[in-house]
Symmetry: C2
Subunit: 293 residues, 2 copies
């Protein structure tokens, strides 16, 4: 099997998601916390200008800029494209090995607990996710498969994934979630360490995942303005079953809008602040039990 | 007694506090909702550029710009000073009566429920607050007396006050809080209507208020960077008693910091996102029972 040589922990890919930012600063100040014998760990702040400005991004969403067309631009069109090029040079330098794994730290205003977001079904990541779920039942696993070139940081390597923590507002720290995220990161590093040592890893032989099947936008008028809010009965109910006919929106006039699908789905990213401008009220997913070999 | 002739309802004084913004848009679309026979009601969006940018402000906090020195500037120094001048002309026009009352709608990431924030002890506002508390036990009253020229919108008239709703993240709508805020506004308008009609108003003869006595900042290093988070035992505990020796912060290294005061206080605005940059981890207040004549 291939050894893991370098692991990056990235916080502040979005500048107003403070949990990852302050965890990375802690790891930079106390590197022994993320030191493991068999690999190098690199803590990195994603978007320093957005962090300083306490905003998600300066010009455009950095976490949609990590793709070949950005990397090969002679003149980056904006700050985030420039920064994506810089990060690529750090994580995939010409004169040494690329990082083997990326842990990309995010927070969400949705009630997603401790979510692991996978962009693919890489077997080692599935085993890792199964292991983390066994350690902590708050861990949920969301598979959001992306086409090549979608620009997510985690797509830079096979062992890239996001940790998405919530519910927490943008611009604040929640101490309890901070500590839970920190422990989850240590569990990931310990797993990689045991993997490198070829130890018999503790295994869960099945894993429940939520597989993305699409998005639902807010009802909008002809100017694109939203006309409804997430229904109170759906708010904070991420990963819970939504049945055909269940209320999903409440218009400003007070009318309920019901879910029109014809099967049970599992909404995720319900009422995420940063997704209003992206045309996303929630992701919807299917629950799936997969075997871990 | 003086009649109330004009009432302003302002949302989006801060551009990322969506509850007030969408309530004002609703009132602009359905003006009958805020129509009362004896006075005119004016719904107004505070900071249109910040609302469009989904941010608290463009250059500086608009809700610190409402003072004489800004109003008399020939050349406003930035967008918010320009906008403060515009709003002053709308609310205090030269050729007609000024607005008599301002309801300034805000949200907070602190768990402040439905808070009424008074900048003074104007007797009619205290009676109104007592009335609202009687109707809805979720209503809390915070008195934050301000020196003249502090620049808050509510300081433009004697009957100016803020409604502060939370906990809700910046940039999202919470339907339940939206509806509670809407009902609270109708109760205020109904109260003013009964006042104008000289009706015997329902009265609470006592009112519990929380009077501001200061602020507490985060522990910071020499560069001004925060070194600790709100302690999990204090998070979401706005308006609850804090005793000497109770934990208030948790450092990133995991050490507890205890409250060093020598009497019970009542923290408010605990972990408000917009106050990190202002050097405020929380306001502290004293609880006070006042007689309503």
């Amino acid at each position: 099997m291939n050894q893991i040589h370098r692991v990056a922990i990235v916080g502040g890919n979005h500048g107003n998601e403070l949990t990852g930012i302050y965890l990375v600063k802690k790891f930079q100040q106390y590197p022994h916390l993320i030191h493991r014998a068999s690999f190098e760990t690199l803590p990195l702040l994603g978007n320093p200008q957005a962090i300083a400005a306490r905003t998600r991004y300066i010009d455009t969403d950095l976490n949609r800029c990590f793709n070949e067309s950005t990397f090969t631009e002679q003149q980056p069109a904006n700050y985030e494209e420039f920064r994506a090029q810089e990060i690529q040079k750090i994580l995939q330098p010409k004169d040494q090995e690329f990082v083997d794994a990326i842990i990309d730290l995010h927070t969400t205003t949705a009630n997603m607990g401790l979510s692991i977001i996978l962009g693919n079904r890489q077997p080692l990541l599935l085993k890792l996710a199964a292991d983390l779920s066994a350690i902590n039942p708050l861990v949920k696993v969301y598979i959001h498969e992306q086409p090549k070139g979608s620009g997510f940081l985690r797509s830079l390597c096979d062992l890239g994934f996001a940790i998405e923590i919530g519910a927490v507002p943008q611009g604040i720290l929640n101490a309890e979630l901070f500590q839970q995220t920190e422990q989850l990161i240590y569990a990931v590093l310990d797993y990689f360490e045991e993997y490198n040592q070829g130890k018999n890893l503790p295994k869960n032989h099945t894993l429940t995942v939520y597989k993305s099947i699409g998005i639902v936008d807010y009802p909008r008028n002809e100017n694109g303005e939203i006309q409804a809010m997430i229904h109170p009965q759906l708010q904070f109910r991420d990963y819970e079953p939504l049945h055909p006919g269940d209320p999903i929106f409440l218009t400003f006039a007070g009318e309920e809008i019901l879910y029109q699908g014809n099967s049970i789905v599992y909404p995720i990213f319900i009422n995420e602040a940063a997704y209003y401008e992206k045309g996303i009220a929630m992701h919807i997913s299917q629950k799936e039990l997969i075997e871990i070999s």
